[in-house]
Amino acid sequence: MTLLVARRLTVSTVLGGMRAPVIRGLDLSLAPGKMLGLVGESGAGKSMIGRAIAQVMPAGFAVTGGLLEFDGRDLVGMPAAARRSLLGRDIAFIPQEPLTALNPVLTVGAQMEEHFSHLGVNTRAERLARAIAALEAVHLRDAADLLARYPHQLSGGMCQRVLIAMAFASRPRLVIADEPTTALDVTIQARIVSLMAELQRRDGTAVLFITHDLRLAGRICDEVAVLYGGSVIEQGPARQVLETPLHPYTRCLQLANPALSGARRGLYALPDQMPGLRALAGMQGCHFAPRCPLAGDECRVRMPDLAGETRRVACWQPDLTAGIGAGPAPPAVGVRTSGVKLVEVRGLGKIFRTGSVFRRRQTRAVIDVDFDIAAGEFVAVVGESGSGKSTLGRLLMGLERPSSGTIRLDGRIVSVPGEAARRHRIRTAQMVFQDPQSALNPRRRVADIITAALEAAGADRATRAMRASALLAEMGLAPEIGGRTPSQLSGGQRQRVNIARAVCLVPKLLVADEIVSGLDVSIQAQLLALLQRLRRDHAFAMLFISHDLSVVRHLCDRVLVMYQGAIVEQGPVEQVFARPLHAYTRSLLAAA
């Protein structure tokens, strides 16, 4: 018996006059009470499936073929009113961004009441009672008080709990959760996941769990389907897919993820990225073939079908998959550090003053921080959002003025105002920004962006052009990229440009703020490999700000753990991760 069935489902849009499928011939089935993980990188079409079920699709997208049934009823051809009565009642959704998914001008109570009214609860008293019960079921305290509050008065985790409460309020038969934890802090992610699992078990609800995180899906789902280019390429019981992937792509994804425990190993960096819709539309053969390390001639000509019983895979030669090995061995940690102190931070503090004349407010973002970075050393700063780790990076770069303490860079105090200190600082240290969208001026050509430092120093055009092509080559970017503007680049390419600008004049220190977060695993693996190569070639040090402990473990020598503005623990990565001393470090590790 199946609750949700998709047969040869195709969803398309029109691109440049041509029909371009986003989802092609998708086969899926979900049994009542089961949890199916839908895993894929961005562009795989995983969110579109959820949207197709509700028929709430972006303009220009439509189901153009195949079948989509819920409980034996056709979801696509169904009248809107009938579908509306299913939505929220039998089929519920948990969104990706909890903070924006609740209407900001309505109280939590108003929105929950509306929902219960939709569910047919007629008296206000009963609606309120049901709302309180639903909130209590997701372990929210002071539920009655919560009803009177507005979404902005709640934290992201609380909002997500409210949304989960609403989703499960009707005891729906199907819940579609689209990346429900991505926007949340690590420690909260774990709790939300376990809450969902709890409610799912309680109600026997079927859950379609859409995520980019193969490991997460493998841990909590009964079954996992891996998507690539709009179709399922592998499906099977979660543990099996995770442990012994049959499709080369799944295997590569698994190998691209750094491990948090066990032996440090190299990452498998898939080349390029998933082809865009237009490229896919014209492609013959296996969509993964261009990136597949094993692709043979047949792969490039004929598209394999999803075959098999419990383990299904769309590959011509799944038996070869296990042979794909890990990437090159990781560099030995700590070997290259020279012991020469490049950065010395003493008693550093930062207090932000906000508010009007009438209500002054102080936020202590960084409190009395001491640490050193040796030349050539990679030091990670970890902590949840708001822990002060970004502020620390900005202080180091002189983008914020310290409220107290000193920063010594390469032997010279730079935490003082003045042009001389600034010159010294930017000669010594450069920064790679988190969001390449914001970090790259959309009006400038890549070649200009990456040689801006030369331009500022007054270098001539020819020198800059030479440096630009050298940098592009070093970043693994094609020479013609230099003539493009950032909007014409992919996310991975942009981040390379972002890095190229920072290393243009080969600084001694790079400050990198969350530079791989939000990227797909395969791109992340590519960038980590790039950073390691650059380190080998230029021997610079790095302050690597990240919330992702596995990446930190993969890349860095030492780690600073920040909590509420203070460094609560610091030491060599392996040592701290293996034997955390501070309670907060332990909770971080437990959640990861």
Binding site: R423, I426, A453, A457
Partner: protein, 281 residues
């Protein structure tokens, strides 16, 4: 810069503005009469298509026997002069302050922000009336008054945009690349705000046409010897029954000019993908 030309609005607006410019610049050649030439026996003549109309006076004559069509053409001169210079002046003052305030922030921003508050508490019509009372009539003073009143429009709109841009990481990156503050602003922030500036500038030109007409209408605009649409309206009002065109023609001219600038500004806003700016916002 070609992209905007694909917008029908931009093309329509440009055509109208060009027409206005041709009228303004070519008035001495296009006009059939000296616009000041009075003919006290040929007053309030009807337009050519009306009964008793004459080809000599296309749109008839006004209460002093002056040729309405010729005055309309010459009126375009003041209108376009004021529209061009006043809005440029307001843009220069407003944008400079916006860049300074938005980029530097802190107390500079505070002072400029409060100045805007003070200005905004004055309805523009009232403020320009008071200014004109102090400055006296004349096209130069009209321009000055418009600059002094409307710099806030540029400053407010641009300041918000500058703040958004200044918070972009690429601006920080430019500083980290070693650029000075001035070069950073010129290199990274100014280009980002040019589309908005151009859009507001275009819309402001329409506003300047209206303000000039309003001031001339109440007699506090250009000197009485200058020919302006607002004055034509004031004159035409006295004879609205005998020669409605003497009133309707300048009304139509103002509308057309403003519509031209608005269409252009609106089209630019869309094709340059500038955030919403409303005509009088």
């Amino acid at each position: 810069m070609i992209a905007p030309l694909r917008s029908a609005r931009v093309v329509a607006g440009l055509l109208i503005v060009l027409l206005m410019l041709v009228c303004a610049l070519g008035a001495p050649w296009l006009a059939s009469h000296d616009p000041d030439e009075q003919d006290l026996v040929a007053m309030l003549l009807p337009a050519v298509w009306q009964q008793g109309g004459d080809w000599a006076h296309l749109l008839g004559t006004d209460g002093l026997g002056r040729d309405v069509a010729s005055r309309l053409l010459y009126g375009a001169r003041v209108a376009m002069l004021v529209a061009g210079t006043a809005s440029l002046g307001a843009a220069v003052v407003g944008a400079s302050l916006a860049y300074v305030a938005g980029y530097l922030g802190g107390w500079v921003d505070w002072v400029i922000g409060r100045a805007i508050d003070v200005w905004m508490s004055f309805p523009p019509v009232i403020l320009s009336l008071i200014l004109m009372t102090g400055l006296g009539t004349g096209a130069r003073n009209v321009i000055l008054a418009i600059v002094l009143v409307d710099w806030t429009r540029f400053c407010r709109v641009l300041r918000a945009e500058v703040i958004v841009t200044a918070h972009r990481d690429y601006v920080t990156a430019a500083r980290l690349s070693g650029f000075s503050h001035v070069r950073t602003v010129l290199r990274e922030i100014v280009p980002a705000t040019v589309p908005l500036l151009v859009t507001v500038l275009t819309l402001e030109m329409g506003i300047a046409v209206v303000v000039e007409a309003i001031l001339s209408f109440v007699g506090l605009g250009v000197k009485s010897s200058q020919i302006a649409w607002g004055q034509m309206i004031a004159d035409g009002r006295d004879a609205v029954y005998q020669a409605p065109l003497a009133l309707l023609a300048p009304v139509g001219a103002i509308f057309l000019a403003v519509a031209g600038f608005n269409l252009l500004g609106d089209g630019l806003r869309r094709s340059l993908d500038v955030r919403m700016v409303e005509g009088r916002e």
